[in-house]
């Protein structure tokens, strides 16, 4: 299977990076803020053009002869030593195409939106151009990630997006908190990358045995067939693990790589950075921390679906981690009042859904949800951004309420997003989430798959509840907006609103791209699930067959759950607005536990970070380094030499000539004694 050569792909990646480089050079070397029109034109133009190129490439891809062909573009040989080699190359198959379109498309919209959002911001130096520089750089990195021809290029993008995320979270670096959140995101992601790297090493190590030195995806896939059944023995101290001591190699590789995915896609136990990442500007939250970067983990799992297919243990872990994360994040979201925090936890939760799908072998569903989520979550974030802008950078819903009257357009598009995420038909979220629940229901390989399904269902209800809670607290009811702000609240400018409308439209109708056949049959469309068909050649998915009745029944249950949640939210926050406060008081500790995110950050800090720092300082640095090696070893030796001279040998040099004679006599006797013996 060899891809069709084209040099189109590289330009999709290079355009944004060139734009970023131009920005960087202007900022760094010319020290002059460029005219805004130029900045906007360059950045948006580059991303827009990348989108156009992506579309052209898609066209080329669709017209390729042969079934499983892909577009390939090898730029140059990147890293190579010994038998290992990795090229800086790109490939576009169905999966990459979907991702590329999402990245460039949504990315372009968010670029445009940012023009309005960042227009008035002067918090730190060179903000405007710097922002677009980072944004372009991010786009490039994300495109590298999705278009990368091998694991290493994927990793390049993977780290690149992490860097941009770091830069953009701490964009307003004048505030310590923002900077802290940025570093936290990067470091937590690095922990994930640790797993990712180990996964890559394992893969290379394993492939070496079958004579494959490359880690290009098609080579891995080809070589992996021979490795699928291989097992490894775990060391004894890991004997407590299920299935020990013999594990499938694929499981081990899958788990290592999944650790990376956990970091990037904010799953348990590495999800804590994502809520804090909301410290960045809202367009960033929309683009990076909702639509694109955080889905990289899902993309990676799907890209390497054959590994997870061969390692059922890994797949089950993926599914269950996703399920539990989805529920946990949804629970935390229940009690948050910060508009972006709620959305952040909802993102974590939705990512959990995607992993459930991926773990259950429904990679298509995962990608489908990834796409629809990109639209509606971007929409929700951008909507919240509009609110925040209107409220002069106020994010706490305790100080909002009743904004429906002041921001009618925003209210409407936000409502579309809420409905979509809550999973009401026929909005996009309904179809994608429904497929995921179905796949969980059917995933017989995953232990406890029905419990997993139930988990998903509960999460669906909770999702509907907290999203509507958010919506009601923001737009409905009485206004809690402070006096001085209230009169200045107004709809944002056109450049901000247009992307909202576009996204709202996509959120509403994107579900049609992956319309399950059961509805297709009802509508008389054959092959309605065009996305699944498009992706099928790339993903290692087995088609499952299920009766329409079950499928519809499950869908009905999901809708019912969502409705329940919605109704409860309405009851609590619109119908009886006094009740939540009493409820809160009644629940007491439990409420605080949820509001404070189960204290996970604090536990991590106390158990891992602090002991490490204290031990490093007290034991390693002060104890071993300064105390032992330097004071005893190095200076100690010097002192010992000095002491030998000053305390011992000195007495032989008393300055008294007769003492010298005496020593000389002794020496003479010793010499003679030695000789005569």
């Amino acid at each position: 299977m060899v891809g069709a050569e084209t040099s189109l792909l590289r330009w999709i990646v290079f355009l944004p990076v060139l734009a970023a480089a131009v920005h960087g050079v202007m900022l760094g070397l010319l020290r002059r803020e460029a005219p805004r029109a130029f900045v906007v034109g360059l950045s948006c133009g580059a991303v827009g053009l990348a989108f156009v190129l992506a579309c052209v490439s898609l066209g080329r891809l669709l017209t390729l002869p042969g079934e499983a062909g892909f577009l390939a573009d090898e730029v140059w040989s990147w890293i190579g030593a010994g038998r290992f080699h990795a090229e800086l190359g790109f490939r576009m198959d169905a999966l990459s195409a979907v991702m590329t379109l999402v990245v460039t498309g949504v990315g372009f919209l968010i670029h445009v939106y940012s023009v309005g959002y960042m227009a008035e911001d002067h918090r730190d130096d060179g903000g405007f151009q710097r922002f677009f520089c980072y944004l372009n750089l991010f786009t490039c990195a994300m495109l590298l990630l999705v278009l990368g021809d091998n694991l290493l290029v994927l990793f390049l993008g993977w780290e690149g997006v992490g860097l941009c995320s770091y830069l953009l979270i701490g964009f307003w670096y004048g505030d310590r908190w923002n900077a802290y959140c940025g570093s936290k995101a990067f470091i937590v992601n690095r922990i994930g990358d640790f797993g990712f790297l180990v996964g890559i090493f394992l893969l290379v190590w394993a492939l070496r045995d079958v004579g494959v030195g490359s880690i290009a995806f098609h080579e891995i896939e080809a070589g992996f067939g021979a490795l699928a059944e291989r097992t490894v023995r775990l060391p004894d101290w890991l004997g407590f693990l299920p299935g020990a001591p013999e594990w499938r190699l694929a499981t081990l590789i899958g788990l290592c790589l999944f650790l990376g995915a956990c970091g990037k896609s904010a799953q348990i136990p590495l999800y804590t950075w994502l809520p804090d990442a909301m410290a960045g500007p809202t367009p960033v939250s929309a683009l990076i921390h909702a639509a694109t970067m955080v889905t990289a983990g899902v993309y990676m799992v799907c890209r390497l679906s054959f590994v997870y297919e061969a390692g059922p243990g890994a797949a089950a872990t993926v599914a269950w981690t996703g399920g539990v994360t989805a529920l946990l994040a949804a629970t935390i979201a229940l009690a948050q009042t910060d508009i972006k925090k709620v959305l952040a936890y909802s993102t974590v939760s939705q990512l959990g859904y995607m992993f459930v799908a991926a773990g259950c072998g429904a990679y298509g569903a995962a990608i489908f949800h990834l796409g629809t989520h990109a639209f509606f979550k971007a929409l929700l974030f951008l909507g919240s951004g509009a609110v925040i802008l209107a409220m002069h950078h106020e994010q706490d819903t305790d100080r909002m309420g009743g904004l429906r009257r002041r921001l009618p357009h925003t209210h409407l598009v936000f409502l579309v997003g809420v409905l979509a995420i809550a999973g009401f038909p026929p909005l996009s979220g309904f179809f994608s989430k429904d497929e995921i629940l179905l796949s969980a229901w059917l995933a017989h390989d995953v232990p406890g798959h029905q419990a997993l399904w139930a988990l998903g269902l509960v999460t669906a209800a909770l999702t509907a509840f907290y999203m509507f809670r958010l919506h009601f607290r923001t737009f409905a009811g009485a206004s809690r907006v402070p006096e001085e702000v209230r009169n200045h609240v107004h709809e944002p400018s056109q450049v901000v609103r247009v992307p909202l409308y576009v996204l709202a439209a996509f959120s509403a109708v994107a579900g049609l791209a992956g319309l399950p056949q059961v509805y297709g049959d009802a509508l008389g469309v054959s092959d309605s699930n065009s996305l699944a068909h498009f992706l099928a050649p790339v993903l290692a998915a087995e088609a499952h067959h299920v009766s329409h009745a079950v499928e519809l029944g499950l869908a009905g249950l999901a809708v019912a759950a969502a409705s329940l949640g919605t109704l409860l939210a309405w009851w609590l926050y619109v119908h009886r607005p006094g009740l939540p406060a009493r409820l809160r008081a009644g629940l007491g500790a439990l409420f605080r536990l949820v509001r404070d995110k189960f204290y996970v950050d604090e536990i991590y800090d106390a158990l891992l970070v602090r002991p490490l720092v204290i031990a490093s300082d007290r034991v390693l640095f002060r104890g071993v380094d300064a105390g032992l090696i330097d004071a005893v070893g190095v200076d100690g030796t010097a002192r010992a030499v000095r002491a030998l001279a000053a305390r011992v040998l000195k007495h032989a040099h008393s300055g008294l000539a007769q003492g010298y004679l005496f020593v000389m006599l002794l020496g003479t006797l010793a010499v003679v004694g030695w000789l005569v013996r």
Partner: protein
């Protein structure tokens, strides 16, 4: 004929006495004398050996030693005088400015 052992024994005893003198006496001049005594002991040994081997080398050696001893005494006493002029003492233990 006196056995050579006794001659050498006498020389060793005199050398020992000279050594003890050089080591213990504090009067610089007496120390010099003790060293002279040591040289005399050496001379005695040379003469004894010279007689035993029947070769004159030892006696020539003694002549040289006597010359050297004279030279040493001259220089040594010169040093003592120079020191005495500055220090007003011939106690060897007073000469310990330079140490360690």
């Amino acid at each position: 004929m006196v056995p050579l052992e006794h001659v050498i024994g006498l020389s060793a005893i005199l050398f020992g006495i000279g050594t003890v003198g050089a080591l213990t006496r504090r009067n610089l001049i007496v120390i010099l004398m003790s060293i002279e005594l040591m040289l005399n002991a050496v001379n005695l040994a040379f003469v004894g050996f010279s007689r035993a081997w029947g070769s004159l080398d030892g006696q020539i050696f003694v002549l040289m030693v006597i010359t050297v001893a004279a030279a040493e005494v001259a220089v040594g006493l010169g040093i003592v005088i120079a020191l005495f002029r500055n220090r007003e003492s011939i106690n060897v233990e007073d000469v310990s400015l330079l140490r360690w």
